[in-house]
Symmetry: C2
Subunit: 505 residues, 2 copies
């Protein structure tokens, strides 16, 4: 009989429902009364704040400066780039009035109709482009390297917490350069920054590569992405970086005088990651007991749970725990103070332990009167099973807790990397391809597939066929693909390198 798990259903039983339950039980977020919009709860928001802090430092270290642009985009701005507006018109929130007024029967109705409707930004290329065209006159003003942390709205019909919501939080970098080469270099540099962040902080291995034409950002010349494999073997696009060529600088009239006095259009880029990363973190590391947070992004590193059996020892145990939390707070981990907290809530120790397991805190300590007698702590590692808990002297634990965090961070990454590698296959026949992407078991429809590395003739017809038959798409043309002779898995035509196929979120 399988041991009872804290999350029902398990990943194997129903992966999508498992995901919702982990998000709920970890208290990360929940649906709001506003269609498609989520509420990010404190534990989930603290994760996002940590993601923000690390990325923001990296952006600034690479010369980018933060700024803030309007929430609203006039309809005519969105229309300046034809592909861009086509890509976003179907899913945008439109502001048409600027007040409420008592109408028939005293009911409040929209009033004060706007001359031109305003779109709640789905992304900010066009409004930022309008400002760039004012700010940029000469090659001396370039490169212009700007980032914005903001909320955006895309009216999605089928939403899922963090992964696809009508409103989400993100950062969007927007840069302008005097040459195409420099803009392409920026596009790639920011993609690598995202990949490093995913690997080093989220402990989430990713494949970097370029999107095919059919998956490009509306208006981009080329779109690069990082793709991660979730535990259901589906791909999650976790970040994108776009080389926009001169498309948006022509649409927004971003011109500059080069060093010879000649006027040219600037070359622009944009790149972003969003609160979707939180969903990626859940699906990369979570297990059937709930969330597991990599230490480098954890809102708390160590939770101390006092085990109190009677009133006579209660205050002694509580004091010991609080002293320990202070001591741990002096430890330097990852360039900052370690965060340790004592769970002082009323209630049974066991229930408290389980609540922290579900929340994914990297290490939980249980401390009762017997532990205090031997000046030791009972250590639970969230990345290991409950049976692997161990007792350790307090001094030894405090002295090695930084190493312990590093070890957990590393073990989470290695587990995720193994999962990705085990489910990435070179496939050369169309039969094997269809088998790979067809559910093997009607009871567990989600447990199949992965990343298939296959040759492709470069045509969108092939992409359409595979999407229609299997709901499989090309996730990217990987950056590190080796040149090799091959034949397109569908058409048999010549191909020079393999691309990554997968089912996606």
């Amino acid at each position: 009989m399988a041991p009872k798990t804290a999350i029902t259903p398990t990943r194997e039983q129903d992966y999508p429902e498992w995901y919702q339950q982990v998000v709920k039980n970890a208290d990360l977020a929940e649906n709001s009364p506003v269609r498609g919009c989520m509420v990010i709860k404190p534990w989930g928001y603290a994760l996002w704040e940590n993601i923000q802090r690390v990325l923001d430092e990296k952006f600034k270290a690479t010369g980018h400066k933060n700024a803030y642009f309007p929430l609203f985009i006039p309809k005519s701005f969105l229309e300046k780039e034809a592909q861009h507006v086509e890509g976003f018109a179907k899913e945008c929130a439109v502001v048409t009035h600027h007040r409420l007024e008592a109408g028939e029967g005293g009911k409040l109705v929209p009033a004060g109709e706007l001359e031109e409707p305003l779109i709640v930004r789905p992304t900010s290329e066009t409004i930022i482009g309008a400002m760039f065209s004012k700010w940029i006159q000469s090659y001396r003003d370039l490169p212009l390297l700007i980032n914005q942390w903001a909320n955006v709205v895309r009216w999605e019909m089928r939403t899922r917490l963090f992964l696809r919501t009508a409103e989400f939080l993100w950062q969007e970098g927007h840069t302008a350069h005097s040459t195409a080469e420099e803009a392409v270099e920026e596009t790639r540099k920011m993609l690598e920054l995202y990949a490093d962040f995913a690997r080093d902080y989220m402990a989430m291995p990713v494949i970097t590569g370029e999107k095919t034409a059919s998956e490009r950002f509306p208006g981009a010349v080329s779109t690069y992405c990082i793709e991660a494999m979730m535990q259901d073997r589906k791909a999650l696009q976790a970040g994108t970086s776009h080389f926009l060529g001169q498309n948006f600088s022509k649409a927004s009239d971003i011109r500059f005088q080069d060093s010879n006095g000649k006027e040219e259009f600037a070359w622009t880029t944009s790149w972003g990651v969003s609160t979707r990363l939180v969903g990626g973190l859940v699906m990369t590391h979570g297990d059937d007991d709930g969330l597991i947070i990599p230490p480098r992004l954890a809102p708390s590193h160590v939770v101390i749970i006092p085990v109190i059996h009677g009133d006579d020892t209660a205050s002694e145990v509580m004091q010991y725990c609080e002293r320990l939390a202070l001591e741990l707070g002096e430890v330097c981990y990852d360039g900052r103070r370690l965060i340790a907290e004592v769970d002082k809530r009323e209630g049974r120790g066991g229930e408290k332990v389980w609540s922290w397991i579900k929340k994914g805190v990297p290490v939980y300590l249980e401390i009762g009167p017997r532990d205090i007698k031997t000046d030791s702590v009972f250590v639970g590692r969230r990345d290991k099973g409950r049976r692997e808990r161990y007792s350790q002297s307090r001094a030894e634990f405090v002295g090695s807790v930084g190493n312990l965090m590093d070890e957990i961070q590393k073990s989470l990454f290695e587990r995720a990397l193994k999962q990705q590698q085990d489910n990435t296959l070179k496939i050369d026949s169309i039969e094997d391809f269809y088998t790979f992407f067809t559910p093997r078991n009607r009871e567990k429809p989600e447990v199949h597939g992965g990343f298939a590395l296959c040759h492709w003739n470069g045509s969108s017809e092939v992409e359409e066929k595979l999407k229609k038959d299997l709901n499989v798409t090309i996730r990217c043309i990987p950056t590190d693909a080796v040149e090799e002779e091959g034949k397109c898995i569908v058409s048999g035509e010549v191909s020079r390198r393999r691309v990554v196929f997968g089912k996606s979120y």
Copy 2:
């Protein structure tokens, strides 16, 4: 003849226009093509980030946790509290459609009408209240202490950069408590936190107090505020903290079981400060040469300007400056590393110096070949005149730069405090009151008034009359008012304490 100033006009010539020019010349922000919405440029946004960082630490240190709630509020939610909707209905952006579609002649028009219009949040009491009502069941769930950093929209018709814009950035704290006393204590505690922040970081003295009924937040039982005096002697409301009683918990059904099992409505508060603070900082410290930033909030503390006269010394000077910047970057100031930057732009030294003066950097160093020979730096303090620059050995400067910052911070506060005190008067006759608030000079209509401490009978008729006659309002009933017998300045009726009158932004 008056010396030439970097900002035209001067404060005395035209204060409102001086303000716009300082904001522009310091590169803080500018108007966008979207009506009433501003673009916050990197130097202005960096100021806001510093404000955010300090406040966020203070909120967390007092037990508050950050979360994020939807941008949109269903119309029916806003309508739940009668005074609240009345207060905001006239100035709200209304989303009525969720896509754009080709209409007549192929033009894109709003389509997909929503069943219920959504309001872009002007403030979040109602949507957060809806979530609180789910999260709060028992007294054990209280107090619930939440803060949100977000953008909000109020459709203002007459806007001014930072001071009054259709969209602005702010934080809004929302808390729920089991007793009225505890909620009132929270309201006051957060007001004091704002006052401390204004004084200690912004170097901006403020008066704390309570608003009269006519100036209360729509739906609040009582509104507390911090009020600062700008250099034109007008008052700026710089932060507010509201005790909401049970008004919003009744509207949103936020109930809890107390320790006796009895069901009660919770007592709630809300409190906020916004990007308006940046405007307050400009108007508190700026002079006729531009912005002056208090060191504790400065995006850069020291700017080093290489003075290069010929190519033969250029690289030597530049290297000296860069080494000095690194050395300064090792200095600890205010718990963080000092931020020093070298201005490496092309162009004349004098122009560069002026650009930093206008941006308000606390200290600027000019370094040329002669300074290097004596291993010294030429120091300009932004809070002092250009003629007060002095030469100092490099070692001495580096060794004392932290003290220098403290000194500048202190001098700015003292100057602002003197300005406030010099223009705060006890007034006991209605004639003196009218004289105080009437422009003395047609050429300089802004230079008059200040804070008048007067007795008031507590009636809104008196408030209305003074507002109509002089555009003067009661800024607050000050927290530290002493009990004294007096007579209302208008009606002659008995009054127990003085209130603060002023013209406001």
